[in-house]
Symmetry: C2
Subunit: 367 residues, 2 copies
């Protein structure tokens, strides 16, 4: 036997892909959501030999136009944006849906259930869907059952996949024991459009923020799915969770590009959450997540500190959160197609691998 340095990443024998044959024919994808994220995803997919065979949008000014034109690509994609996902899936029978619409389970449930019912694999960057087993166990169980019934895989991914889940799980895998894991991450709210900026309370008063905090029914951050994914990967049982919020206040006038307004001093430029998870085995997992409008010179950064035997840290300075949400989603496409039917998370999937070849070359033959 000689070294085969060109071999594909090792794959579990149990995988039963739905795509027809290993490396035979291209992967056919549908874009669900035709906004800023899927504009990047569409370019990356095309570069990696994936055919875009459809696009689903909602707004009347997008439906009926060429998806490439709507997304601002250099060339038309030759597919119209449609509002009716059911009809689209029945007619084009894609291998996978790239879901970049909302962050929340309440909005994503039907989108993913529709994919499953039509036999379409799906990967979503909706933050609550990254690892929804802790926060939405019943709804996730329903989606998983539906996926298994129809022989497809539904998956959460996004920026979190490597930087906030698998990198951190690997770091914990390198220590003997830990007492506390503390993560810090920040993102520029202004990079993600008006909807996210409003969700992050940009331009509201501290009094508005307190009232919103008292009345809000959904978790105020996306840290809990991340910590739950890390705990799962580390074999730890969650026994309790808490979250604290603090508003981030403008000290001088600061422009919000996404809302096309200037935030005056004393108003919110975003807020910071600190989620804490306790486990039955002892270790405490904590994550501080700050989403605010950046001042000049601020950049995205991830930092994870392990207090244990031994102490250890990992830092990703100056990280391109926006673009790496999309690059990871695209590199995950073969893993999702190859995975067993069900709802899978980054804690279940194989490690992310570099993809120098067209993505269909990473698809396994049916067992």
């Amino acid at each position: 036997m000689t070294a085969d340095l060109t071999r594909h990443p090792r794959r579990p024998a149990e995988t039963r892909p739905r795509h027809e044959g290993a490396g035979v024919g291209g992967i056919r994808a549908v874009l669900v959501g035709v906004g800023a994220m899927n504009a990047i995803v569409a370019r990356l997919l095309t570069e990696k030999g994936v055919e875009i065979v459809g696009a689903v949008g909602r707004s009347p000014e997008k439906v009926g136009r060429d998806a490439g034109t709507v997304l601002g690509l250099t060339h038309p994609l030759g597919v119209e944006v449609v509002a009716d996902a059911d009809a689209l899936y029945d007619s084009v029978r894609p291998d996978i849906a790239m879901v970049a619409t909302s962050s929340f389970m309440v909005d994503q449930y039907d989108v993913l259930a529709t994919c499953a019912r039509h036999g379409v694999n799906a990967i979503t960057i909706g933050e609550e869907l990254l690892f929804p087993w802790h926060t939405y166990p019943e709804r996730t169980g329903e989606l998983a059952a539906l996926a298994r019934e129809h022989g497809v895989t539904l998956a959460g991914s996004g920026f979190q996949d490597f930087f906030l889940v698998n990198q951190v799980a690997g770091l914990l895998g390198a220590v003997n024991r830990f007492d506390r894991l503390v993560g810090r991450e920040s993102f520029n709210v202004d990079d993600y459009g008006a909807e996210v900026a409003r969700d992050q309370r940009i331009g509201t008063t501290p009094e508005d923020f307190a009232a919103w905090q008292a009345s809000s029914t959904r978790p105020p951050s996306f840290a809990l799915p991340i910590l739950a994914a890390v705990a799962s990967s580390a074999g730890l049982t969650i026994t309790g969770t808490t979250v604290e919020l603090r508003p981030d206040i403008a000290t001088g006038p600061i422009e919000s590009r996404s809302l096309e307004t200037v935030v005056e001093p004393g108003l919110l430029i975003g807020f910071t959450t600190v989620d804490t998870v306790t486990t039955g085995e002892g270790p405490i997992l904590q994550m501080e997540l700050s989403g605010h409008i950046y001042r000049p010179g601020e950049t995205d950064r991830c930092e994870w500190t392990v207090q244990g035997d031994p102490n250890v840290r990992v830092v990703n300075p100056d990280v391109d959160t926006l673009r790496m949400t999309c690059t990871q989603m695209v590199n995950r496409v073969p893993d999702v197609i190859n995975a067993d039917p069900g709802f899978v998370t980054p804690a279940d999937l194989p490690p992310l691998h570099y993809r120098p070849r067209p993505l269909n070359e990473y698809i396994l033959a049916r067992a």
Copy 2:
């Protein structure tokens, strides 16, 4: 279905462990080498419920004494250090050998071959064994064949496993494309005993160093196996390698603890290598590795920079290289026992996982 946050990490169905049954009975390990590293490993194994059933040493002042006493543990281990590994393996029939002797293939080949012939799995922290397929393809192939013949797994691990291989491979898995990967790592030569200090040319003159460099027949650094592992994991084909050396010179008198001497100004406190790997697919992989006696305040640090789409970095500041060599070796024990027979590397094994439970609970039932 509900979330099972306590489940074991997912395991490929193809694994065929040699250990008798999942979680049934303890794992029985033998220490090969009774120096500083296996002193730490022995403590960690005991903490994780692994029974130490033997120890192999060479030096006459160690052979015949209790291994725990030799290793400086608080309690005797109840096993004598022996010189004859063959007889030991035949009598105690261990599940795995923990090999912490030499860094080099030339010394490790027989150690690992002996394990294989006696049906004993083995994991080594010998740096050349981390991923020897590129540097020693024939010898590695022989070891792999021998391992398969006897149904055991031989594996390389160590500090490199997460920090220099899998963390880096995951980072590359998160980008769309890269042109160049540059790693920088330093270690304190004085932490690893007199043999490593002499290998790193401590206290020699620049002229000695030049002569040694001209005459040396083995690679001057352990970076090439690391870069080859990363290239393999990224699906890249190595087309060429180069290495540059520069001596690190004392600017003032500096104490070497391991050699119990003071290095005078103008003499070597170690040296730095820069290994460069070119690939058929285009990306260049480079690693600067510096082993020298640290000045006060210097700490171990890993840093990897990806130049590509997008750029991204990972930094582990102030990392405990010595201890994490041992913690990773120990956490890998179940993966090695579970793996298919052959020679496996960190690029082949599943991601490292935190091990909150006794290690035998992570062993799979035989298929």
